[in-house]
């Protein structure tokens, strides 16, 4: 089955094309240009360069978050538009579930951490070392203490990855102590091939989302809703 994967939830704009057996093509940009301008041209090039007729595409995999709210919507609106235009289903995967695949071989905790701004991180914990990452702590938007606390509940070495490392490395390192590990810089960013990998798994386990019923995984209320709830508590 031929799937196209998109990811625009972080600073990386990435697209990939492949089937269960083979990654056919992947293009990624990690530059500070708007995803809105880069995503479609990348996708057009990807499909053309892979020599694939777009009518042969059988489904779309897209990250639904967590990440930049605007980035989530650019990716999802594009994925849903492709789905509507090509008449193929969409499968949504979380950014953290996809990123965990980068640490699948690590025999211990795999900890994808995304910078959520406002001194918060998006994170989830997985156990690696098997054929697929196994979730051990669900995704959350929280302060760094919560992440450190979650890591300290487990005893294995902890492998950190994701764009949250840039800002929070020192704290994570001191919290995890001798258990701290990290993936080299070039291997720890979001890539659409990881989304493809997770996409195939979700497709197999749960099937694609019913038409347009794909929900964004914002993990956080909008500012206005948060303030409204606080005021009316």
């Amino acid at each position: 089955m031929l799937l196209v994967a998109l990811d625009t939830t972080t600073t990386v704009c990435s697209v990939a094309l492949g089937d269960e057996e083979k990654l056919r093509a992947e293009y990624s940009l990690n530059i500070s240009k708007t995803h809105s301008q880069r995503l479609m041209p990348l996708l057009v090039d990807l499909i053309r360069d892979a020599g694939v007729d777009k009518k042969k595409i059988e489904g779309i995999a897209v990250t639904t978050g967590p990440g930049s709210f605007t980035g989530i919507r650019i990716g999802m609106a594009t994925a849903l538009g492709l789905s509507q235009g090509l008449g193929v289903p969409v499968v949504g995967v979380t950014t953290l579930d996809a990123l965990a695949w980068a640490g699948v071989f690590f025999p211990g905790l795999v900890c994808p951490v995304l910078d959520a701004r406002k001194d918060q991180v998006y994170f989830a914990l997985y156990r690696g070392g098997d054929s697929a990452p196994l979730e051990v702590e669900p995704a959350r938007a929280a302060g760094l203490e919560a992440l450190c606390e979650a890591v300290s509940r487990h005893e294995e070495p902890a492998l950190f990855l994701g764009d949250g490392l840039e800002r929070f490395r020192a704290t994570l390192r001191s919290a995890a102590g001798s258990r701290y590990r990290e993936i080299p810089a070039f291997s720890r960013l979001n890539r659409a091939s990881l989304v493809l990998q997770e996409g195939f798994r979700v497709w197999e386990q749960r099937g694609p989302a019913p038409a347009y019923a794909l929900s964004p995984f914002y993990l956080r209320l909008s500012e206005a809703e948060r303030r409204f709830q606080e005021k009316n508590r």
Binding site: T34, S36, Q37, R38, L39, M40, P41, L43, V44, K54, F69, T70, R73, I74, M76, A77, T78, A79, L80, G81, L82, S83, Q84, G85, L86, A211, Y212, P216, Y218, S222, E223, A224, E225, F228
Partner: protein
């Protein structure tokens, strides 16, 4: 793709319009730039009400939830499928960036998937094209007054895509002051329709509010912050006296002041350029008093006054599809790196 020969043979050029610049998610199918075959608008009003105004993040979230079903509905109501379309037109600005991005991303993906040409429409220009949906024959050059919640401009329209701004507001937009005064009077949001209604039972002469930039200075520009401040001060003083607010009279006097400025500047532009047609566009074009007074004032100037039906005054995608049809005929196609342009102006389309 646009096909003149096909059109003459009776084939209609069908454009799907997509509009998500603010808080309404809209899609429409329009034939030959004038026949509205469907016009679907999903209003978000109830989502923003408890916040007392439009919250951009909530608007963006809602657009993403409904855009695809809204497009499907527009096609179904028109009785067509994607295979019948000749092009896709989408609003790329001005507006709220997060809202615009949902429409632009969806439109690009559809255009690519379906091999359909994509055109990017300036939302304000779209408002002008709402007048093409009236059945009237529009002939350039003409003058158009666009008055909405975000914009107030007088334009000299010389042809498709050839615009000259004659005057614009220097501060608040006309629709914006209607909303602010309505809020101060506790009338809710949006303010235009309520004020229009209450004003009909009021006497405008009871209060005198300033008319903006009526002198030669400023020429055809507008300014509404003066009248806004005067009305807000009057509301405060009336409240201090502890008596019930003379709502109807306040609304009538306020509306008179805004309409006066709009009508007077429009008349000056018509006297100066002597066009044969004058178009009204934008949400404020729905105001009954503005329509009545414009007719009255412009009648002796031998200019035909045209305004869109109410449903095409407020934001909709039919006007975007109509504009898109003419863009397509001119070959003005949008590339796949099209971005949302929240600050898009009228003179750099």
């Amino acid at each position: 793709m646009f096909d003149e020969k096909g059109e003459k043979m009776g084939h209609k050029t069908l454009i799907l319009g997509i509009e998500t610049s603010c808080d309404d998610t809209a899609a429409s199918v329009v034939g030959n730039g004038r026949d509205v075959l469907s016009n679907v608008v999903s209003s978000q009003e109830s989502f923003h009400q408890r916040f007392g105004g439009i919250v951009p993040e909530i608007a963006s979230r809602r657009h993403l939830e409904v855009i695809n079903p809204v497009i499907d509905e527009a096609l179904a109501k028109a009785g067509f499928t994607f295979a019948h379309l000749d092009g896709i037109a989408v609003t790329h600005g001005p507006g709220l960036v997060g809202s615009l991005l949902v429409g632009v991303s969806a439109a690009k993906a559809l255009s690519f998937s379906l091999d359909l040409p994509l055109v990017a429409v300036n939302h304000l220009e779209g408002h002008i094209y709402a007048n093409f949906l009236t059945g009237a024959t529009i002939a350039f050059p003409l003058i158009c007054l666009i008055a909405s919640g975000g914009h107030t401009s007088l334009l000299h329209v010389k042809g498709h895509g050839q615009l000259e701004v004659l005057g614009r507001t220097r501060d608040d937009a006309a629709g914006e002051v209607f909303d602010k005064i309505a809020r101060a009077l506790g009338l809710g949001f949006p303010g235009g329709p309520v004020i229009d209604q209450l004003a009909q039972q009021g006497e405008g002469e009871k209060f005198l509010f300033p008319r903006a930039l009526m002198g030669a200075e400023g020429k055809l520009d507008f300014s509404f912050s003066g009248v806004k401040t005067a009305v807000l001060n009057r509301i405060r003083r009336e409240k201090e006296q502890g008596k019930p607010l003379p709502l109807n009279d306040l609304c009538a006097a306020f509306q008179d002041a805004v309409v006066d400025a709009l009508v007077e500047k429009s008349a000056r532009a018509v006297e100066y350029l002597q066009p044969r047609q004058f178009l009204l566009a934008g949400g404020v074009a729905a105001n009954g008093e503005l329509r009545r007074r414009l007719r009255l004032r412009l009648a002796p100037l031998e200019v035909e006054v045209i305004y869109p039906p109410l449903e095409y005054c407020t934001d909709n995608a039919a006007m975007i599809a109509a504009a898109g049809y003419y863009y397509l005929r001119q070959g003005r196609l949008a590339p796949y790196d099209l971005n949302a342009e929240p600050g898009l102006d009228l003179e750099n389309p």
